[in-house]
């Protein structure tokens, strides 16, 4: 760093200030000013830091108003001499009284006087000003600091309050020179405000600014693309250095401005006090910021950041200080817990701000402040990544918002986003490199195979959809096939679409134009319809290996949606069928239950199992049914336990297994079981909507596709599947999903191996519609 800094830049500025001072003083002496006048340097000149083309700030101080008019002729002559000498004086005449009074519209005067220095004129008058001004500060310092903080906020707001600009303003932009001065002024005005040492940043900026002034021949402060190129052969590196300083200054400025603000009024404070009740044994919450009670909580896991994200808080400055340089040991479960939270982005921001992100994942430092230098990329790579993750919280488009809500493991998508550009700046293809880094990180976190594979897939393919959006003919069938082939499953497609949405949205604030949004949705639809067309009905033939027998005749989709370990489990369950009619497995993981059932297929089977599960008051979230060439079905039901009956009474799990077995064997009637269940509570009238049932004979080559969207209720799946079975139809493939109160059910059905004819389809549709509405 500091490759650009001019050696001894402070001396350069001081030498220039001394030289200017000499000329100003002699011009003053050569002009006949009346007595009782003091010439004071203020601002940059007062500090002895003069940039080549900066204004020379001067204040002429007098005791009373009537002295002002008689001074004017001498003053004009004096200023003219300076102008003719090539200086740019910026002057004011004020009385001492005016200088030590609050002025709503002239805070600049008060602030410029903080850097006052006598140049010439009446020493007594200067001493008088100095004495009065000190007294004024000791009385009003804190109030002035408060106003200065508000002014600084307003200035920063003009730059969207962010350091991330392609062409930043070195002087007034957030994290720039003005912020550095503000930090110093605030500390001088109010002893409560910290005074950090940021001299490295100052020297870096000053070095840049001197060269910018010299090469432009004027007061140039905009670090434009041209200027960046003229200053360095490696403008991207230059900007990376700039941003590293700017971030440090920005963070310090925020801290100073906040410390300078007085405590809020009563009502707000009471709300914050109320918020402080979420404090626990590890963390104290005060004014929406988190303090640590025990430093031990930093060494392991991410509980601090989980706490921040859960309650939408920020870290206290003290906490940030204590975190500096510390890296907790983490495992995948810590990340999963943090990244599952809706405001996970806030937790990651806190990790970034405190440096913990880079110590927990050292690879993160590769993209720290990394600049992608073109007009399109607005953010550095690390900021882009965090903006992408934040953008998931505010998806405006209804279709993508729905898609995001349907994804049941948001942590995977967020982690994939965290990794998606981490290989940038390596000099190699960034997609490949990011996937490699992600692999390494996931291994280190001891991530289960399943999650690791999904994250790596998402990282490796994160550009696919956007590439196809702009470079492939979307009406060409080959595009759809290629896409389906590459993505493999609907689940992956959804995750990839959401990831692409976030990635594009975070390139610059206007990157997700309605045009791109529409294109991305078209690509999603294209792939979705291609995947649903073939994957469900295309069958596996002659699979290699010893599982061939079991796999024969299962839909291709089965292979694409199940992990190797799951398939192995199914093969094992299939083995049990040699000695018994039904093999059942129930597992409890990640807050839901999953029942897997293998048996010989027979009419009404799926409906019976769905009914048995519902009769326990359990709520079916997802279900799948596949059958192989030997007539063996693999049915999977994922359900939640809203009344915690299984969770609180473990023997109930065995009872459920027993009941399902009896229902499958035909020893119990599901309808009988359901009769005793209480009527479900319907959602409020406003939230209700008309059910839709669509039958489609074109989507698949071998079966009729039935798509149902209905209000979810207990027993719905049982009613629907029973209606299908009762009509003499065979359910080939089932895909059940729920989203809030909506059930999204897809069935592929046949009658005696054929698609449904018009008459039957019409009748079945009416029956299904009636089942949706029944309560």
């Amino acid at each position: 760093m500091n490759s650009i800094a001019v050696p001894g830049v402070r001396e350069t500025l001081a030498v220039r200030a001394a030289e200017v001072e000499h000329r100003v003083r002699s011009a003053y002496t050569n002009t006949r000013f009346p007595s009782g006048v003091a010439l004071t340097a203020t601002g940059g000149f007062g500090r002895g830091e003069l940039f080549p083309y900066s204004d020379v700030d001067l204040l002429v101080v007098v005791e009373s108003e009537h002295q002002i008019a008689p001074i004017k002729p001498a003053l004009s002559e004096f200023l003219q001499t300076l102008w003719d000498g090539g200086l740019r004086p910026s002057h004011a005449i004020q009385t001492v009284n005016y200088c030590v009074t609050d002025h709503e519209d002239n805070l600049e005067l008060t602030i410029s006087l903080l850097d006052r220095r006598r140049i010439a004129g009446d020493p007594e008058m200067y001493r008088w000003l100095d004495q009065r001004f000190r007294a004024y500060l000791s009385k009003r310092g804190a109030a002035i600091a408060d106003r200065l903080a508000s002014h600084a906020n307003a200035r920063r707001a003009k730059f969207q309050d962010t350091v991330h600009h392609l062409e930043p303003n070195l002087k007034d932009g957030p994290g720039g020179l003005r912020d550095l001065q503000t930090i110093r002024w605030l500390a001088a005005l109010n002893p409560r405000v910290p005074a950090p040492d940021l001299s490295a940043a100052f020297e870096f900026y000053a070095g840049l600014r001197v060269r910018m002034h010299e090469s432009a021949g004027r007061d140039q402060n905009l670090l434009s693309f041209d200027v960046q190129e003229s200053l360095s052969e490696h403008p991207a590196e230059l900007m990376r250095d700039y941003l590293r300083h700017a971030r440090a200054v920005d963070q310090a400025a925020r801290r100073s401005m906040e410390s300078a603000k007085p405590r809020e009024g009563n009502l707000v404070e009471r709300f914050h006090d109320w918020r402080s009740r979420i404090s626990n044994t590890e963390f104290t919450v005060l004014r929406d910021r988190v303090w640590l009670r025990s430093p031990a909580s930093l060494d392991r896991g991410l509980s601090l950041f989980e706490f921040v994200a859960r309650h939408e808080l920020r870290l206290a400055f003290d906490t940030i200080d204590r975190l500096s340089g510390r890296g907790p040991e983490t495992v995948w479960e810590d990340w999963r817990a943090l990244l599952s939270l809706p405001h996970a982005g806030m937790g990651l921001r806190a990790m970034q701000e405190s440096g913990v992100l880079a110590s927990a994942v050292p690879e993160w430092s590769h993209v720290d402040c990394l600049v992608v230098r073109d007009f399109y990329h607005h953010y550095t790579v690390d900021e882009h990544t965090l903006v992408a993750i934040d953008s998931l919280e505010t998806i405006q488009d209804r279709r993508f918002a729905d898609l995001w809500a349907e994804i049941d493991d948001p942590a995977i998508v967020r982690f994939a986003l965290l990794m998606h550009d981490i290989g940038k700046g390596s000099g190699h293809d960034h997609v490949d490199e990011s996937r490699r880094v992600a692999h390494r990180v996931l291994e280190r976190l001891r991530t289960p195979e399943n999650d690791r594979a999904t994250v790596e897939f998402l990282v490796a393919h994160h550009l696919d959809l956007s590439t196809i959006m702009t470079s492939r003919d979307l009406s060409d069938e080959a595009t759809a096939q290629m896409l389906a082939e590459r993505v493999g499953t609907v689940e992956r497609l959804k995750r990839l679409a959401i990831m692409t949405y976030a990635d594009i949205s975070a390139v610059n604030p206007n990157a997700m134009s309605p045009w791109r949004l529409e294109q991305l949705w078209r690509v999603y639809l294209l792939a979705h319809s291609e995947l649903t067309k073939t994957l469900y009905t295309e069958r596996i033939h002659d699979a290699p290996g010893e599982r061939a027998g079991f796999l024969e005749g299962l839909p291709t989709r089965y292979l694409r949606t199940h992990l190797d370990s799951e398939i192995a489990g199914h093969v094992e369950l299939a083995g049990q069928l040699e000695s018994r009619a039904v093999a059942i497995e129930i597992v409890h993981e990640r807050g839901v239950y999953r029942l897997t059932l293998l048996t010989r297929d027979h009419p009404g089977l799926f409906a019976a199992v769905a009914g048995a599960i519902s009769s326990f008051g359990l709520s079916i979230l997802k279900a799948e049914a596949f059958s192989n060439a030997h007539g063996i079905v693999v049915d999977t039901f994922t359900f939640s336990d809203p009344h915690r009956s299984l969770e609180l009474n473990p023997p109930e799990v065995d009872r459920l297994r027993g009941i399902v077995r009896k229902v499958v064997e035909g020893k119990l009637d599901a309808a009988q079981l359901l009769r005793g269940r209480p009527k479900p509570l319907l959602p409020s009238r406003g939230a209700r909507f008309e059910p839709r049932v669509q039958l489609n004979n074109f989507a698949s080559e071998t079966a009729t596709l039935i798509e149902i969207v209905a209000e979810d209720r207990a027993g719905l799946l049982y009613d629907l599947t029973r209606a299908i079975s009762s009509a003499g139809c065979n359910i080939e493939v089932v895909l059940i999903d729920t989203e809030a109160h909506r059930a999204l059910d897809v069935f592929y059905v046949t009658v005696r191996g054929e698609k449904l004819d018009g008459e039957l389809a019409k009748k079945l549709r009416a029956t299904l519609l009636a089942a949706c509405s029944a309560s």
Binding site: S471, D473, P514, W515, E518, Q519, H528, Q694, E707, L744
Partner: protein
């Protein structure tokens, strides 16, 4: 001078740009637009819900050239943007009264 405005398929942009550059025309304005012509909107069925897609994403290219080069440009555009399917787009031709380069006040074809 003539101005052409071509509406083309998004995936054809690169090819069209290359082709136009190959005949020595450098200046153009490209925008992302949405609209429909004969391709009309169509219905997309997504999980039982129908979506009416009435405005399709397209690319609009605008180029101003000396009148003498018009035919050549149109031939190049048509050849590079065509897939033969509905939705390939359209080309419109306008007369241009004057062109002025803001930097130095050059006028007419010299400003192009």
């Amino acid at each position: 001078m003539k101005k052409i405005e071509a509406i083309i398929q998004p995936h054809k942009l690169e090819e069209v740009k290359e082709a136009i550059k190959a005949i020595g025309i450098d200046g153009m304005t490209v925008s992302e637009v949405r609209g429909h012509g004969r391709q009309k909107g169509h219905k997309e069925v997504y999980r039982g819900m129908e979506y009416q897609v009435d405005l399709l994403p397209k690319i609009k290219i605008e180029i101003v050239i000396p009148a003498a080069r018009l035919d050549e440009l149109i031939r190049t555009l048509v050849a590079s943007a065509r897939t033969g399917k509905i939705g390939d787009g359209k080309i419109f031709v306008y007369d241009v009264a004057e062109a002025i380069r803001i930097r130095n006040d050059d006028r007419g074809e010299g400003a192009l």
